[in-house]
């Protein structure tokens, strides 16, 4: 298990972004993560192309928002017929030039969308390439309730790396 004790908190050591254990107590469903994700990656304002999604399916009873964001398991990369999902550091990214917008038999979705165990890859009718978290960290930085967190790679025994918040987060 990777834990935030002795890890090196640099984005190159980022393993994934996740919702905190007590996410349901923290998240208020404001959608800031979705809007900033969209606006960081596109020239427009919106939510439809966000790689993180907040759902209110638990309402009205019992309540509590749910979060879907990629856990970087790599299953999509292994199943991609065009080999278009590459591991950069620890993060899987979709290469626009290589993606062929395949279709899984029966569902009409791209294969990566269909095989994703966390249902965290999305499509949008404006573009061929599916949408997936690239670990940029904007959602973690902007969440007004601190409901999201980074998970960093645990270093072996490098005591010189004093844990600190990442200084440079690409916006």
């Amino acid at each position: 298990m990777e834990e935030n004790k002795t890890e090196d908190k640099k984005l190159e050591n980022l393993l994934r972004i996740k919702s905190k254990e007590n996410f349901e107590e923290l998240c208020s469903g404001c959608g800031v993560c979705e809007a900033f994700c969209h606006a960081t990656h596109y020239d427009t304002e919106g939510k439809a192309k966000s790689a993180i999604r907040i759902s209110d399916e638990n309402f009205p009873v019992p309540g509590g928002y749910k979060c879907a964001v990629c856990n970087q398991c790599g299953k999509c990369a292994r199943e991609c017929p065009a080999d278009a999902i590459k591991k950069v550091g620890n993060i899987y990214k979709i290469d626009d030039d290589l993606c062929v917008r395949c279709t899984a038999p029966g569902t009409g979705h791209p294969i990566c969308v269909d095989v994703c165990p966390t249902r965290a890859i999305y499509t949008h009718k404006d573009q061929l390439t599916p949408i997936k978290c690239d670990g940029c960290g904007t959602c973690v930085e902007m969440c007004p309730k601190g409901a999201l967190e980074y998970v960093f790679k645990k270093l072996k025994a490098d005591t010189e790396n004093i844990p600190q918040q990442p200084k440079e987060v690409p916006k």
Binding site: E25, A35, D43, T44, K171
Partner: protein
């Protein structure tokens, strides 16, 4: 046209015809959007002789230019129509996620006209717009109904829905959204009920182009940073508006108590934020883009109900004003009101009126038909609310609002309303500017146009000036499509909103341009009254008689009651500053100066 979706959807429920019209850029520039744009459409299109519940009335739903962007708390949607409660200007807004969804679907506003003969709902999935049969949803509660729409259509649809109260044309019914948020005032839900429109369900997948993305990036990040570092933010996140209760009741004594007979509730410690959080809090529940996340999602073990809230206004009107001494009972009444689709403010106000009238022998046991109505009688009150929502027995009378009820019962001296709209959560006997704010609010007894009570508490002496300033800025937020709370409570400067507006739209407005648009919108709302209510004048700006009499238990002997004479002098000053006549009607000169020449013809209705 950048920042706007660019289209207005016009839906005629009589013919089921759906039209898409281009948004007139000039209208957007002069009225901005949201409540401003909706007011203009309502002004132009609703005939002065239209009955509010007839097909001739129109309901306009609008987002603002900031909606759908990353500007903090830009999640407000406005509804405007002729009010069934007052017969004049009606407007109410709701937070949640409707505004952004509407813009992402491609519409800045939706105009609902005509009326359906059978229950229907409006289905919007981007460009696909249909009027669909809603017989299977008719009769469902607001919360239950919203869930069923989401189950049937998809969880990513945003729903504006009415409950049984609106279906039965109770005149203070809500439009509900996001499981417990309500456009509650002035009977906007009732207008939907009159058109047999159960819901508007929408989903949008589009993105918004803005004029200057970099400039917008910069200003929204500054706004978020300032919100996040504000020392009060945390209190808003964990308590929301319930934090106001203690201050209002025990510090400034403005807490409506037992039908506004007092401003201090002796049991307020049982209704305070700390108690509410301890007993019921589950998590915060925000509107779109809001870091304050003031909504609190609660679970009451005592009643086994889940509810958003209670918000301050509900704690005031369904707590102190009904003499309720347990926050879980307030939550329960809140839940009952939400499910029935009743406005908690008006309902708490009217029920308190009935309890007082009953105690004074003006309401009989026969009328109450077995109900042992009293202060703090939670289950009896809930039962009465059910009768109101279904217009059963005595409930059929109460469904008309406190102004009408008090005329029938002969209890007008303690009917707490302005222009027919029940007064919201601030006891204002001794507070001149708040009295003026209620008296001149464009929807009647509500605090949305000007919340001036803090100015009274600070002993400000430019009361009329302050009310005017607030009446421009606060409804100004409604025109931008943003919530005013980050400005009111966290001091986020208007300059940032102006900067954001310019970055989004490219309007290149100065602060003067913005303020002039706000003043224009306010005057147009006033003109709606002049156009629709023959002989409209200062009579309609008067506040209840009770506000000129001492409280039952006087707690602020140091502050005298603002007398009727003083109030009317204040009103004179206010009219003069506004450039209105002594009767309170905008002058021809004022209308011209604001570019509202088209409204001059309606001045003739003035007697």
């Amino acid at each position: 046209m950048k920042g706007y979706a660019g289209e207005i959807l016009r839906v005629n429920l009589s013919t089921k015809e759906v039209k898409k019209e281009k948004l007139d850029e000039n209208l957007a520039r002069i009225h901005l959007g949201g409540r401003g744009l909706a007011t203009r459409i309502a002004y132009d299109e609703i005939p002065s002789d239209a009955d509010p519940l007839s097909p001739g009335n129109k309901l306009i739903m609008a987002s603002g230019p900031l909606s759908g962007t990353r500007v903090p708390a830009s999640g407000k949607t406005d509804f405007v129509a002729k009010s069934p409660l007052t017969g004049g200007y009606g407007s109410s807004n709701v937070g949640g996620h409707l505004a952004e969804e509407m813009k992402f679907a491609g519409y800045d506003a939706i105009i609902i006209e005509g009326a359906s003969d059978k229950p229907c709902y409006l289905y919007i999935d981007d460009d696909k717009v249909e009027v669909r049969d809603a017989s299977q949803y008719w009769g469902l509660g607001s919360i239950t109904g919203e869930k069923k729409f989401k189950d049937d259509l998809g969880n990513d649809f945003q729903i504006a829905v009415i409950g049984p109260a609106a279906e039965n044309l109770v005149k203070y019914s809500c439009i509900s959204h996001d499981f417990g948020r309500n456009a509650g005032r002035a009977g906007m839900g009732t207008v939907m009920g009159g058109k047999k429109l159960k819901a508007i369900a929408m989903r949008g997948s589009k993105s918004l182009e803005v004029h200057d993305k970099q400039a917008l990036d910069k200003v929204v990040k500054t706004m978020f940073e300032e919100c996040m570092k504000h020392p009060e933010l945390k209190a808003w996140q964990i308590w929301g508006t319930s934090g106001v209760t203690k201050w209002c009741s025990s510090t400034i004594n403005a807490f409506p108590t037992k039908n506004f007979s007092m401003g201090h509730f002796e049991h307020d410690e049982k209704l305070r934020a700390e108690v509410m959080r301890e007993k019921m809090n589950k998590h915060g529940k925000a509107c779109g883009m809001c870091p304050m996340a003031c909504g609190q999602y609660s679970y009451s073990k005592k009643h086994n109900i889940t509810v958003e809230g209670p918000e301050y206004e509900t704690i005031a009107l369904m707590g102190g004003n009904l003499g309720i001494t347990d926050i879980e009972d307030v939550a329960y009444l809140n839940y009952v009101a939400d499910e029935l689709g009743l406005d908690t403010i008006s309902t708490g106000n009217i029920v308190a009126h009935v309890i007082e009238a009953y105690k004074k022998g003006k309401v009989t046991d026969t009328q109450l038909d077995g109900l042992k109505l009293d202060w703090n009688a939670t289950s009896e009150i809930a039962a009465l609310m059910d009768r109101i929502a279904h217009r059963r027995g005595f409930g059929n009378l109460l469904a008309n609002g406190v102004k009408y009820v008090s005329k029938i019962l002969g209890t007008e001296e303690y009917a707490m309303h302005v222009k027919g709209t029940e007064i919201s959560g601030y006891e204002s006997r001794r507070r001149g500017s708040m009295k003026l704010a209620y008296g001149t609010c464009n929807v009647g007894g509500h605090h949305n146009d000007a919340w001036a009570i803090t100015y009274d508490v600070a002993k400000g002496d430019k009361k009329a000036e302050k009310v005017i300033e607030l009446q421009h800025i606060r409804p100004g937020f409604d025109a931008l499509g943003a919530c005013r709370l980050p400005w009111v409570e966290l001091g986020i400067k208007i300059d940032y909103y102006l900067e954001a507006l310019n970055a989004i739209t490219g309007f290149n407005f100065s602060m003067d341009d913005l303020m002039k648009a706000y003043e224009r919108n306010f005057n147009l709302m006033r003109m709606f009254w002049v156009k629709h209510v023959a002989g409209f004048d200062r009579k309609q700006d008067q506040v209840p008689e009770r506000w000129y009499k001492e409280e039952e238990s006087k707690v602020r002997p140091d502050e005298p009651i603002v007398s009727k004479k003083e109030y009317n002098e204040l009103l004179d000053k206010y009219y003069k500053l506004r450039g209105w006549t002594k009767k309170g009607v905008p002058s021809k000169k004022k209308l011209k100066a604001l570019g509202l020449d088209f409204a001059i013809k309606d001045l003739k209705r003035e007697k």
